[in-house]
C-alpha cells in the first residue's frame, strides 16, 4: 500500500537585494518536516524584492485548521467527521501581473462505513459541505480602450456526497497469497449541489448560479497498489482512471445563463516506488491525462487539455 504520508512544509523566503542592483542575496529558512497529521496544512510563501527603488511583494498564504475527528459507531455503522476553517491570501503587486485574492473557507467533511456483508463489496460514503467567500482582482474595461482592475466578490456553497465501491472477489474463487498483488478496481463519485455567486462593478458574468452535479470515476490498478519484491531497483505501479462529470444549472440570475456542462477525463499514472517498507520516502510519479469539457466550479471553460505531470509524494 502506498499511502500518502502527510508532510506539510512551511517555507519563508526573503530574497533581499543587497549591494549593487545587479547582485542579489537571499535568505532561506525552511522547515522541511512538520508533525505528522498536523491540524494545519498548506505552505506559505512571502517574498519581498527591492529593485531599482521599487518594492515588489508576493505573498501566498493558505492556512487551514482542522478540528479533531469525532468518531462514533454502533453495530450497524462507523462514522467520523471534522470541521475545517481556512484563510487564503495570494498577493502580487508586480505591475503587469497584479493579484490580490483573499478569502475564507469553512467546511465539514465526514466518512461513514456501513456494516454490510463483509463478503460483499468494500463500501463507504463521504459527505461534505463547503462554504467560501472571497475577493479577487479582475481586469475590466470601464470605457473603450481603457483597462482597470476591480475586486470581484465570489461566494460559494457546495454540498456533496462521495461514494466508494470496491467490488468483492467471489467467495471461494480466490485467496490472498504472500507476494501476490491482486489487481484492484474501484468506483467513486456522487452527486453534489452548488450555489455560486459573483459580484463586481463592471465585471462580466456576475449573478447567481445554482445547480446539481454528478461525478463518476472508474479506477484500475492491474498490478495492485504496492511494489512487488525487488527484481531490480525501482518498481513501477501503473494505475488507470476514467471519469465523467455532468453539471446541470437549475437557476441563473444577473448576467449569468443556465447551461449544462460535461467534463470527461482519462488518466494514466505511473508511480515509481522502492519496494522497501521505509515509512518516509520520496516517491516520484508521472501522470498523463486527457480531459475534454468544462467545469464552472473550477472556472474551466469548454476546452480539451492534455497534461503531463511529474510529481513527488512523501
Amino acid at each position: 500500500m502506498n499511502s500518502t504520508m502527510k508532510l506539510a512544509s512551511l517555507v519563508l523566503v526573503l530574497p533581499l537585494l543587497l549591494g549593487t542592483q545587479q547582485s542579489r542575496a537571499g535568505i532561506s529558512l525552511s522547515a522541511d518536516e512538520a508533525p505528522v497529521d498536523p491540524p494545519w496544512t498548506q505552505p506559505a510563501n512571502l517574498s519581498l524584492i527591492r529593485e531599482k527603488g521599487t518594492n515588489t511583494i508576493t505573498a501566498d498564504f493558505v492556512l487551514k485548521y482542522r478540528t479533531v475527528e469525532q468518531t462514533r459507531g454502533d453495530a450497524t455503522y462507523a462514522k467520523k467527521g471534522s470541521y475545517a476553517i481556512g484563510v487564503y491570501l495570494h498577493r502580487d503587486n508586480t505591475a503587469d501581473a497584479q493579484k490580490n485574492d483573499r478569502g475564507i473557507q469553512v467546511s465539514y467533511s465526514g466518512l461513514l462505513a456501513p456494516d454490510w456483508n463483509n463478503a460483499g463489496a468494500v463500501v463507504s460514503l463521504g459527505y461534505s459541505i463547503k462554504a467560501s467567500t472571497g475577493k479577487g482582482l479582475v481586469e475590466v474595461e470601464p470605457s473603450p480602450g481603457a483597462k482597470a482592475l476591480v475586486d470581484k466578490t465570489k461566494n460559494r456553497i457546495v454540498v456533496g456526497l462521495g461514494g466508494y465501491v470496491q467490488p468483492s472477489f467471489a467467495p471461494g474463487s480466490v485467496s490472498p497469497k504472500t507476494g501476490v498483488q491482486p489487481s484492484i478496481f474501484f468506483v467513486d463519485g456522487g452527486p453534489s449541489l452548488y450555489l455560486d455567486e459573483s459580484r463586481g462593478e463592471g465585471v462580466a458574468g456576475t449573478g447567481r448560479l445554482s445547480g446539481v452535479a454528478l461525478k463518476l470515476g472508474l479506477n484500475f490498478a492491474p498490478f495492485g497498489l504496492e511494489p512487488l519484491e525487488p527484481m531490480s531497483g525501482l518498481a513501477v505501479i501503473p494505475t488507470f482512471r476514467v471519469s465523467a462529470q455532468t453539471q446541470h444549472d437549475i437557476s441563473a440570475s444577473g448576467s449569468r445563463t443556465k447551461a449544462n456542462r460535461n467534463l470527461y477525463n482519462i488518466e494514466i499514472a505511473l508511480l515509481f516506488a522502492k519496494p522497501e517498507t521505509a515509512v518516509k520516502k520520496l516517491v516520484p510519479s508521472l501522470t498523463l491525462s486527457r480531459s475534454v469539457g468544462s467545469d464552472v466550479l473550477v472556472g474551466r471553460k469548454q476546452s480539451a487539455k492534455t497534461e503531463l505531470t511529474f510529481g513527488v509524494t512523501f
Partner: protein
C-alpha cells in the same frame, strides 16, 4: 498499556475479533469464508496490498476499529496508523493501546 501488563483474555479476544472484522470489511476478499484466511492468525502476515486494500479501504478499517475499540482500547492515532503496512502492524498498534 504499560509494558509487561497482561491483557485479560476476554479483552484480548474482543480486540482480536474486532481487528479481523475490520480487515475483512476493508478487503474485497471474503476472508471469513475461506479456511485459509478465517482467523487473525492466518492473515497476520499479509500486507494491505496482498489483501487488495486501497487507501480508502485502509481508512475504512481504521474507522471501524477506532469507532468500536472502546472501552477495551484507546483509538489508534493517525501518526501510528499511517506507519502500518501489514495486519500484524495493525494488531500491534491496537493491542498496545489496550487499557
Amino acid at each position: 498499556m504499560a509494558t509487561g501488563v497482561q491483557i485479560p483474555a476476554d479483552k484480548l479476544n474482543r480486540l482480536n475479533g474486532l481487528i479481523f472484522y475490520a480487515v475483512d470489511k476493508a478487503s474485497p476478499f471474503a476472508l471469513a469464508y475461506d479456511n485459509n484466511t478465517n482467523s487473525l492468525d492466518k492473515i497476520e502476515l499479509f500486507t494491505f496490498g496482498e489483501l487488495a486494500m486501497t487507501g480508502q479501504g485502509t481508512a475504512i478499517m481504521w474507522l471501524w476499529i477506532n469507532a468500536h475499540c472502546q472501552p477495551d482500547a484507546r483509538p489508534v492515532g493517525a501518526d501510528v496508523a499511517s506507519k502500518c503496512r501489514t495486519v500484524a502492524d495493525v494488531r500491534k498498534a491496537v493491542i498496545s493501546n489496550a487499557v
